[in-house]
Symmetry: C2
Subunit: 420 residues, 2 copies
Amino acid sequence: MTKVEIDRVAFLRDMHDVSAFGATAEGGLNREAASADDGRARDWLRARCVAEGMPVTVDGVGNMYAMLDIASPDAPCVLGGSHLDSQPNGGRFDGALGIVSALHAVLAVKRGCENGALRPQQNIGLVNWTNEEGSRFAPSIMGSAVFTGALPAPTALAARDRNGVPLEDALRAIGYLGRDPAPRNIASYVELHIEQGVVLETSGSTIGVVEGNWGAIKYTVEFRGVAAHTGPTPMPQRRDALLPAAELILFTRQLSDETGGALLSSVGRLDVAPNSTNIVAERVRVFAELRDVERDRLAAACRALEAKIQELGRGDVSATIEKPTDRAPALFDQKLRDCIEAAAADRGLASRRLHTVAGHDAVAVGRILPAGMIFVPSINGVSHHPAESTSEPDQLNGVQVLADVLARLVEDASPEMKRK
Amino acid sequence: MTKVEIDRVAFLRDMHDVSAFGATAEGGLNREAASADDGRARDWLRARCVAEGMPVTVDGVGNMYAMLDIASPDAPCVLGGSHLDSQPNGGRFDGALGIVSALHAVLAVKRGCENGALRPQQNIGLVNWTNEEGSRFAPSIMGSAVFTGALPAPTALAARDRNGVPLEDALRAIGYLGRDPAPRNIASYVELHIEQGVVLETSGSTIGVVEGNWGAIKYTVEFRGVAAHTGPTPMPQRRDALLPAAELILFTRQLSDETGGALLSSVGRLDVAPNSTNIVAERVRVFAELRDVERDRLAAACRALEAKIQELGRGDVSATIEKPTDRAPALFDQKLRDCIEAAAADRGLASRRLHTVAGHDAVAVGRILPAGMIFVPSINGVSHHPAESTSEPDQLNGVQVLADVLARLVEDASPEMKRK
């Protein structure tokens, strides 16, 4: 039963330090991808890794890798990681907890190797994926999707924020438009993340063993009408793009209501142009999403939504549909799930299997590699909000289990841990 | 029958020149109030006035006055004018045509005095009102409302744009935060404007004699929910501010439908926060408006809308209402209406009486002074759009009638033209 010990004081200090970059008055974070504050947080991470003897490379979409050769240079590699970017008014734990946990898990493994407690068969490293949140540049889960080949790098780099700035320029401005290749020989990826729900809290569990992910389909629907003065223009002449948008918002909610709330649905963003009080809306983009763990129910809701959009676009306002995210429900690697569960049990921690509703970098990476996810409890399930929090004991238990999992993986020489 | 002659070539050249400031690729204008391009258009107007011997003063909210003493210094004054600011993607004629028309009407009167054709009893001048459009700084019709005392100057100066910039700073940045007093002794105000509708075009009329204005009530409704992740948050826990906003948009339209389109209604602007695809909307501001020429029908619709907002704010999302504009239906000065009608007839031009649905600076000024409005046809009624246009003959006929009206007013010594 391999165990390594994390440095609890240093971990909490690093969590404190990283929370300063983009800190808001409400106690949360505003650290959108490739912003100046994201750049400062990245600089901090690089300095921490270099100080621990881990050189940092940066790939063409800004993903940062800090690798440590603890086995032979050509050995496969275990990777931990998450993301440093946040929502515009997000919390301190979403992503950042996973990064700091990965750093301290790697350092615990490093010490385990140095003091002879571990006999590594694989190397180890950590990654900070670019733009997991997707609030500034769409789509979300971007850097890891480029890593897996699901998203072409040029498409990612061309994504523009609300001011028309492409990701490429934003990364260059903060010094993280890299040219290094992504590391090869990655054999497995493990990510610790806050649950962003109440399953662990209500069941009294400390460690979440993530079994798989819900399906998520995201739509960008653009309605096009004609701008006109809201004063003199007679009502029959108005081609108001906001009216079908409002109908779509209510219909999206209705799709969830019809399943008793089992299917999750939302419209979180609406871009109205020109968005002037006395101009009939010419162009409205509606960002709608549907999520479900049941594949068939999700597919049925998607068909209903697409039919509704077509119907709304048949009047004097046209409609176009894009589907930037189309994520099927899937399971994480069985062996990694078992490994996480065993590590929790060996520390005497109550664990619980559950699914992730939200998308994560581990979900993207799991498409091509064995991947695993550890959840820690979110107080009251609050997330994407300054009040988002996880208690210090829960943070420490989570990073300890992650360290134990990574320790077991680096000792593993079995051939099935190779790239899918 | 007093007539003066405008300089048609110079007028068209000035219309061409002023259209360069904030010109867009689509042939329209992006010249929002107190923007850099608004500053350049103002500089141009000042230079034109000074070149014609008219010194320019600027009051505390940036209204520009160019006055000409053609009678005695203490005589009452006839004022023409409009506004140089535009919508973010507006047309070249809304406001600017009124400014250039006023300039050339004043110059025609000046020449009439110089060549002895006129015997002025009153002085003359023109005004460029700050921020008529209200797209960057709310409310609209701002500078003229401060002039009349309806809006306190500090309130206007404290209005902020989307980036949080107060009007005061924006005016200072372009050099138009003035300290001059507004001119006293204004006896009457006349404004030429594009119709922004199809009444003149469909009736084959060249000159619109504006009888009065529709009532217009504008609401700013803020719904407040709670931000949460659109993924894991269970539906019953979501307090989504976008749902009541969507209902209000559809209800606002329904109020018009119930009158067969007689009452005009719209929601042109919606501010969603944080407006991120995967965050439940925490705060949505809906900018709704109702317009009607019939006072009682308008009041009934307002009551229904306010009741609906209260109902929507009773659930798990709260609602607050502001009413930044509450404009009652009103009539313009009878004597000025007759004067415009007679001037059109004397030029052999077909005129038609009509109401303005939109608000204008002349509506604000008409609350305290005799005011009049001349409309010229809008091609296809298009307005607040780059395709907004008025034919050159219609422009020239309009400015000629304005010049004749101002000429008659400066010769008028009757006591009833004094301040209301």
